[in-house]
């Protein structure tokens, strides 16, 4: 089996938001929506910090779809639009999506966004990779693990763009892959592990 995954090394991430922007550009994510956000651990605001002045600490924590093996969104999707594919990615069939937003309510990671309106792009052009399908009004969308790139054997955009090399991509089912090794050796953990969703995205540090 294949279980494509990303490990994010939080010791390296500096909160530069390059991955947020690059994801948006790669995947033609409409204005106002983000598939990939950079949060700070234990904070509910952008660029937050823990502790009180001057004893503060700040751990930047990028978060997008966790590609759960036991995906809450998939379980509640009434049409089968959300599915897990043969590479372990959780994907959406936009044709089947009826816009009920059950998945958004179910996702513990707040990873999904919704096209309430006809998607807006101020440049007037689709700015994403030509291979990425354009989503219409009324469908949910989220990180696809860069399906179009990973289908082609390329790494996801947020991985190749990261100036701090904080993200490592690979197959968790291959024990010799770099991502498996890192997760093993550096005790990678899953976000909200006790939710039982079993994400493929792991965090290190």
């Amino acid at each position: 089996m294949t279980r494509l995954a990303i490990a994010i090394n939080l010791d390296r991430c500096v909160g530069c938001h390059t991955c947020t922007m690059a994801c948006k550009m790669q995947n033609n994510v409409p204005e106002g929506l983000l598939w990939n956000r950079v949060l700070t651990t234990n904070c509910d605001v952008v660029d937050g910090a823990e502790g009180t002045y001057p004893n503060v600490s700040r751990v930047y924590t990028p978060i997008a779809c966790q590609h759960c093996q036991n995906a809450a969104c998939q379980r509640v999707c009434p049409t089968g639009a959300t599915y897990k594919d043969e590479k372990g990615r959780v994907e959406i069939d936009y044709e089947k999506c009826i816009g009920c937003r059950m998945c958004m309510a179910a996702c513990p990671y707040n990873a999904r966004v919704f096209n309430w309106q006809t998607p807006v792009r101020t440049t007037g052009a689709n700015y994403g990779d030509a291979a990425v399908p354009v989503r219409p009004k009324g469908v949910a969308e989220k990180c696809t693990l860069c399906k179009e790139r990973t289908d082609n054997g390329e790494e996801p955009m947020c991985v190749v763009c990261c100036p701090a090399h904080a993200r490592i991509f690979g197959d968790l089912d291959d024990p010799d892959s770099e991502v498996s090794r890192l997760v093993r050796e550096r005790h990678g953990y899953q976000m909200l592990e006790d939710m039982g969703t079993n994400p493929s995205v792991h965090y290190i540090g």
Binding site: H17, T18, K24, G51, P54, A125, A130, A164
Partner: protein
């Protein structure tokens, strides 16, 4: 589904950024659809030049609604932004006529090119070249980046500090990295820049079980402070010299200073090394030990009251330095961007010397890491015959006072007897946005009896461009064929041959052809083209001159290192690799690791007689006779002084100054991830990913009854702006911070309230005493809620408040 992209075009993110990363553009139907960056080989010691979030948004930038498409002529009052489209011929004829008239009536010194770096990646402005060929223009000296540091290190070490520091690679031999107002991650954002390298240094040290501690001395907590071993020491802005004085005091009384070095290599640290004829008790040691004219001992308690940093923390930092094997002490350019930035920058450098962390492996001289190859000018043309040079920041003072003298910082001439009569602003935003005191500056610019004619040539209608009488639309670097030298702040150096691509460009022209058309009208075409030709010839000439810089600054295959000539060899260090002499074809680039640079002043430290510094004494001038003389003659703003030693001097707008009673908060700006100077700041897509916000400590938030995300007015006597509050413990109480570069956006005929949140609405025109540099970080403000009237006005503008 969309159609497949027509073509992938190699280009550069060509701003005045230390990186100039690679972009690969996918043009579709004449539009940039998709922007990708470096996908070439990636190695730990030669990382890809990955673009940051700004470079990724380049497609939005190049298609921005603020792009200039046609030549414009002003039809409303100056600065009103009311323009009418005209033809290129009309525009160029008018500019040429004005150049001729003003040169004839006032002389070439009346024509001024304000500091502008938008054109930097293409070398010198061709407009400037054309005017140099005609009659010349007023020069400028220093810049807006590091004027005070340049003057400070010039006094101390005899060089301007741009090229003399140790490269960050030297920190591989350090156990402590001390950052004074420096964030590698935010300042240079590309993948080959220092931030990624700092991560590697940390990991390397951890893997080898070596200690590596980062101490960040900064009013803001920055991402460089990470692990338990790291330390954040917040100081009130502008008080670094007081902090340093107390640390040196501590080292001296404990016998932990490098007294031998301070005696053998320095002038005026101790009384017995003062130059002959100097008044007694003017040495730095007497200053800190309380034997100087002020009679105050610079104890930790003294510094604590000024800096806001507890005495125990200062003492403990002195221990950290004393116990360090090799501390790499560096500074960003924020601390020196203050009224007494010369004191700040030299004090930080002096700390490196006094602690002995200087001139030996693992150390630095206290300056910013050195720049690497820079874009050279094209050969030929004519040298500007004018000798007079204005400090970059002082053009408003010159406009205001109707002239300027040597005692005010003019160089190369005794005085200028008239104000600037013509401004040519090519690729810059320093008329308003990136200058200071925008409201006062607006009034000076709007008065047509002072400056009679303003030409702007730019890619965007930014706030400065609104002041043009004629505005010329330029093709952006990345939309034309070009030669770009990239990575001047990075570990790899690259020479890239960017390709042109077909898309809508209106009547935008490339800068060379604009300069050429002007030269033609000025009757100096032959001189203009000399050595550089036109079209392909010009590009070939540029490629050849950049190729030389590239080859000279790259490590050759044998890994030769640069000469150790007190670090000054930086720009020309290394021997050319034969391979590097080949020039890249369109759509191609060449990369090389840069030639290793030596540790700052290693040769001087080892043998000061054989390798003297370029100071008058050949030594480190802790006491500078040149500054002592300048103190006698300089004409300074009220209450300002020049000190020959790096003493702490309180700014007119600083903690404890009388103004602080009304405006109790210090405002600073920093290099945010969301812009490169003012580039990218105006894009909605950037704002949606990384919003601009005013950082406020929760203590000040509570005092002003502020909540997260609330819009607030930040004001002082110079103006008012609106910003959204971000409450964070990552900023010192008493200090508020804005990312630099936000676009000024105000009704200048009405309220002048700046809805864009441009910090320079509030900053001061008061120059620093030695460099006459921009001291924007010496700025006091207060916060207040928006009035009901302002809220209504804001809503009308679409501002959510």
């Amino acid at each position: 589904m969309k159609t497949a992209p027509d073509k992938t075009v190699l280009q550069s993110c060509g701003f005045n950024c230390g990186s100039r990363c690679q972009l690969r553009l996918h043009a579709e139907d004449g539009q940039v659809a998709w922007v990708e960056s470096d996908t070439g080989p990636d190695a730990p010691d030669a990382p890809q030049m990955r673009a940051c979030l700004c470079g990724r948004a380049w497609g939005h930038w190049v298609n921005s609604p603020h792009r200039l498409d046609y030549p414009l002529k002003r039809v409303g009052p100056r600065g009103s932004g009311q323009f009418q489209r005209i033809s290129w011929d009309e525009a160029l004829d008018e500019i040429a006529a004005q150049i001729k008239r003003i040169t004839a009536d006032f002389g070439p010194e009346a024509i001024f090119f304000p500091y502008a770096s938008g054109i930097l990646a293409s070398g010198q402005s061709p407009l400037e070249r054309a005017i140099d060929c005609y009659g010349g223009h007023l020069r400028l000296h220093s810049d807006y980046s590091s004027a005070q540091l340049q003057a400070g290190t010039m006094a101390l070490f005899g060089d301007d500090g741009y090229y003399s520091g140790s490269p960050l690679e030297e920190a591989a031999n350090s156990d402590v990295l001390v950052l004074f107002g420096s964030s590698m991650f935010a300042t240079r954002q590309g993948g080959a820049a220092g931030g990624h390298y700092l991560n590697q240094l940390r990991e390397q040290a951890a893997a080898e079980g070596r200690p590596f501690k980062v101490v960040s001395i900064d009013p803001r907590h920055t991402p460089e402070v990470r692990g338990a071993q790291d330390q954040w020491i917040p100081l009130r802005p502008g008080t670094d010299a007081a902090f340093v004085a107390a640390v040196i005091h501590e080292l001296l009384i404990d016998g932990l200073a490098d007294e031998e070095l301070l005696r053998s290599h320095c002038v005026g640290f101790f009384e017995d090394t003062l130059p002959p004829g100097t008044p007694p008790h003017s040495s730095y040691s007497d200053y800190v030990l309380g034997r100087g004219p002020d009679g105050t001992e610079k104890t930790c308690a003294w510094a604590a009251a000024i800096t806001g940093c507890p005495a125990a923390t200062i003492r403990q930092f002195a221990r950290t330095l004393a116990q360090a094997k090799s501390a790499f002490i560096t500074q960003g350019w924020g601390p020196q961007r203050s009224e007494y930035g010369e004191q700040t920058s030299r004090a930080i450098c002096l700390l490196a010397v006094a602690s002995g962390h200087f001139g030996r492996p693992g150390t630095n001289s206290g300056v910013h890491e050195p720049m690497r190859p820079y874009t050279p000018s094209l050969p030929g043309g004519r040298e500007n015959p004018v000798r007079a040079a204005l400090p970059a920041f002082l053009w408003t003072e010159c406009l205001q006072g109707g002239g300027i003298t040597q005692a005010q910082g003019l160089r190369g001439a005794q005085q200028l007897p008239f104000p600037i009569k013509m401004i040519v602003n090519h690729g810059g935003n320093c008329l308003t946005n990136q200058h200071a005191a925008i409201n006062a500056t607006h009034d000076l610019l709007a008065d047509e009896s002072r400056c009679e004619f303003i030409v702007v040539c730019d890619v965007m209608l930014n706030d400065s461009a609104r002041y043009g009488d004629i505005v010329l639309p330029e093709l952006a670097l990345g939309e034309r064929e070009n030669a770009v030298l990239s990575g001047f702040g990075d570990r790899v150096s690259c020479l890239r041959h960017g390709e042109s691509w077909s898309h809508f460009t209106g009547e935008r022209r490339d800068p060379w052809s604009i300069g050429r058309a002007l030269a033609e009208r000025l009757g100096v075409l032959e001189a203009f083209e000399e050595g550089a030709g036109d079209g392909d010839e010009t590009l070939a000439a540029r490629m050849a001159s950049e190729g030389q810089v590239f080859a000279a600054s790259s490590a050759d295959s044998a890994g030769h290192t640069g000469e150790d000539d007190n670090g000054k060899a930086a720009a020309s260090a290394g021997r050319a690799d034969e391979d590097a002499r080949r020039l890249p074809a369109p759509g191609h680039e060449m990369r090389a690791l840069r030639a290793p640079l030596p540790c700052a002043y290693g040769a001087f430290r080892a043998n000061p007689t054989a390798h003297p510094l370029p100071t008058p004494s050949g030594k480190i001038e802790v006491y500078s006779e040149a500054l002592a003389r300048m103190a006698q003659t300089a004409q300074l703003p009220d209450g300002q002084v020049i000190s020959p030693i790096p003493a702490y001097l309180p700014a007119a707008e600083g903690p404890g100054s009388p103004t602080a009673e009304r405006f109790p908060l210090q405002l600073i700006t920093y290099h945010g991830y969301q812009s490169i100077h003012s580039n990218f700041s105006h894009l909605a897509i950037v704002e949606s990913v990384m919003p601009h916000a005013l950082q406020v400590n929760p203590v000040d938030g509570a005092a002003n009854a502020l909540v997260e995300g609330q819009p607030v007015v930040v004001e002082n006597d110079r103006g008012a702006l609106v910003a959204r509050v971000h409450l964070t413990p990552c900023i010192m109480p008493g200090v508020v911070a804005l990312p630099n570069g936000a676009w000024h956006n105000a009704d200048m005929a009405g309220s002048r309230l700046d809805w864009g949140g441009c910090a320079n609405t509030l900053t001061s025109l008061r120059p620093s005493p030695i460099a006459r540099g921009n001291g924007q970080n010496s700025c006091l403000v207060r916060l207040r809620p928006l009035t009901a009237e302002e809220q209504a006005a804001g809503r009308e503008r679409g501002y959510d408040c």
